[in-house]
């Protein structure tokens, strides 16, 4: 059976590839062995950001190569790394207030509200509005809204104000996680117990058991109901 083919342009060069492949598999079909531009192959790592355009359309579209299916006439190139600014900081010392965020990323206020970042997000995140939340100092909301970010950098690549949404977003999430989210008290208590050696004896004991004894204990253990 003859496979149905589509014509795509990889960095300007034409290839015939089977219909239905992802951009990633189509590039491999064409003969590219990835070094960059390929990571988890499952939409989790943001290594394979790709910019493309369809025939007779001026607009630039974006997607992850591992998640986007090729279409006839697609004209594409990968952006495997984007040289966005990354501030360095000690999350411990930061305060969860806008002024501390602005010290690290003063360009945050340059946002023009054009929404290009939102249109560029392969995860369909509302990037412009999490940036707006950040500018209001609503770190919790920005952290929540940006949570599914893969840090592919396509938002920053398209931003006319040259802000680095994805790097600002991880700062906000870490500040939220460290300074705003309520702490797990049971966790702190358990850590104390472990450091005090509270479980040493019972662990010594199970480690001394014969395999049969251990198996019996395992089979008798009670299971917490759903």
């Amino acid at each position: 059976m003859e496979e149905e083919k589509v014509k795509i342009f990889i960095m300007g060069k034409a290839y015939q590839v089977p219909k239905g492949l992802t951009i990633m598999k189509a590039m491999e079909y064409a003969g590219y062995q990835f070094i960059r531009g390929c990571g988890c192959r499952g939409g989790f790592c943001g290594a394979c950001g790709t910019v493309y355009r369809m025939p007779d359309d001026y607009r630039l579209l974006v997607g992850l190569a591992c998640q986007t299916v090729v279409e006839d006439g697609m004209y594409l190139t990968q952006i495997p790394v984007f040289p966005g600014n990354k501030a360095t900081y000690d999350v411990e010392e930061l305060r969860p207030v806008l002024s501390d965020i602005l010290k690290l990323y003063p360009e945050l206020t340059r946002c023009l509200g054009c929404n290009t970042c939102t249109k560029a997000c392969p995860q369909d995140l509302d990037v412009m509005n999490y940036m707006a939340a950040a500018m209001r100092g609503d770190i919790a909301r920005a952290a929540d809204m940006s949570f599914d970010c893969l840090m592919c950098g396509l938002c920053a690549a398209r931003c006319p104000a040259e802000t680095v949404q994805y790097n600002i977003a991880i700062l906000l999430r870490r500040v939220y996680g460290r300074h705003i989210a309520p702490r797990a008290e049971h966790l702190a208590a358990r850590v104390e117990e472990i450091l005090d050696g509270a479980f040493d004896e019972s662990l010594d004991e199970v480690m001394r058991l014969s395999r049969a004894e251990l198996e019996a204990l395992y089979n008798q253990r009670d299971i917490e109901p759903e």
């Binding site: 239905g20 492949l21 598999k25 491999e28 079909y29 064409a30 003969g31 062995q33 990835f34 070094i35 960059r36 990571g39 988890c40 192959r41 499952g42 939409g43 989790f44 790592c45 290594a47 998640q67 299916v69 990354k86 360095t88 900081y89 000690d90 999350v91 411990e92 369909d124 949570f147 599914d148 700062l171 999430r173 870490r174 500040v175 939220y176 996680g177 460290r178 300074h179 989210a181 309520p182 702490r183 797990a184 008290e185 049971h186 966790l187 702190a188 358990r190 850590v191 472990i194 479980f199 019972s202 662990l203 199970v206 480690m207 395999r211 251990l214 204990l217 395992y218 253990r221 917490e224």
Partner: protein
Amino acid sequence: MYELIKAVEATRQRRYDERHPRLSPEGKQQLLEKFHPDYRPDTMRPVKVGVSRGTVMPHELVDVLESWSRLDPEKFPLDKIDYDVDVLIIGGGGAGASAALMANENGADVLLATKLRLGDANTMMAQGGIQAADKPNDSPTLHYLDVMGGGGFANKPELVRALVQDAPLVIKWLEDLGCMFDKEPDGTMTTQHGGGTCRKRMHAARDYSGAEIMRTLRDEVKNREIPVLEFSPAVELLSDGEGTCTGAVLMNLETREFLIVRAKTVVVSTGGFGRLHIADFPTTNHYGATADGLVMVYRLGGRLVFLDATQFHPTGAAYPEQIVGLLITEKVRGLGAQLVNIHGEQFVYPLETRDAVSSAIIRECVERKKGIVTETGQYGVWLDSPMIEQIHGEGTILRSLPAMYRQYARFGIDMRKTPILVFPTLHYQNGGVDIRDDTSVTTVENLFVAGETSGGVHGRNRLMGNSLLDVVVFGRRAGVAAARKARHVESGHLSLAHVSDYHKELEDAGLPKDRISPILLPSYTRHQAVPGANPAV
């Protein structure tokens, strides 16, 4: 395919109240022995060379172990040292990043070298969660029992103890670093059961648990300005000529320049072997999971354990072609989706252990011929996802499985309305390099191994939520141990004598000369579709 889906819809109402019987212990054993790839004699052979000579392992792994180095040990010059450090960390996933942070904290001069980008690792892809006994009704001892039971009681006890005892410590460490774990409004961690747990101790960060941990660790490595070399995999470890590790040779993947690193101690955390496609299975694994660490450590004399035990996840995507092998989280079955054959009949209780469900699916397709064969020749059975909304109400899938829903929606499949096709997929390397509880390699000095590259902690079968835990616990331990050890070690002589010896063994065993490893990258291009043979890199 529409016609086939009708058969599933036709029986859905009837199946709503139907509970497929669980396997008896004997039934399960028979099923495993007949259909699990671990038990199939045609998938493995004993390795002919090295310290674990005679040990049976999958063919694809033995192929890369019975391979020649990329370097000619007689000719390769080692006199020009490019980096001279206390601790070299090879691999930039969860274990490597944790090790880098702890080694840095312990005062060591650290270099982290990784094959792809920092954070390119299976850690990034783990969805389900991370186990830790931190609730009042739980204890490290109960966690210990679960780990041992899950592993078939074959696990190395000292490693299991380290895993369960450090678990709450690492959750606290991650919380302090700003990881956004799922919590109740009062700060209590939201925890769930996983397969084989006796307490609800699975912590999560929505269904991006691994990604949240990995990006936090990566951000912290960058904040501390720890030197990182990306796209620079190690291709060989260096020794002092008497079996002590003294550094490594890296290769810049893009320029093919070799770089020589002298280090007082070395941590190998390069991940597992998923991309070797053991027994020809598709895999859930990251592009870089090509067993590089196993190969290099083995050549230097590290013992390999439990590598005949491979974890196949029962539900990998079988359709559409673009996502074949990708993980469909266990949570889908946990929420009530049943596994059904081409006639719309259940054939296994959906929450049997992973190995049993995998075997039952293979039996249904291969022996009973009641599976579905897709256009590309891929076997599959139905995972009846619409059942979830029938049981828990509309909106459950969007709320509980957003990443999964998004995955299918991208290809025009609405898993709320139509069932999805699944087949077992290669998920995890249960075994690896034999280590002590400080991650030091039992048979090589000044060498540490952490994460999926190591073996023993999970015995023959890892439980869900213990791999993220493994990489952080043992990554941290490796960083501490390597930094402390480095304080008392003089930088050593650099030699590839162990590679010469290994080559001699290969020669004596009459092994073919055309195999070179570590392979570094899998070959998926049409023009070099020979697994393991990779002339391009």
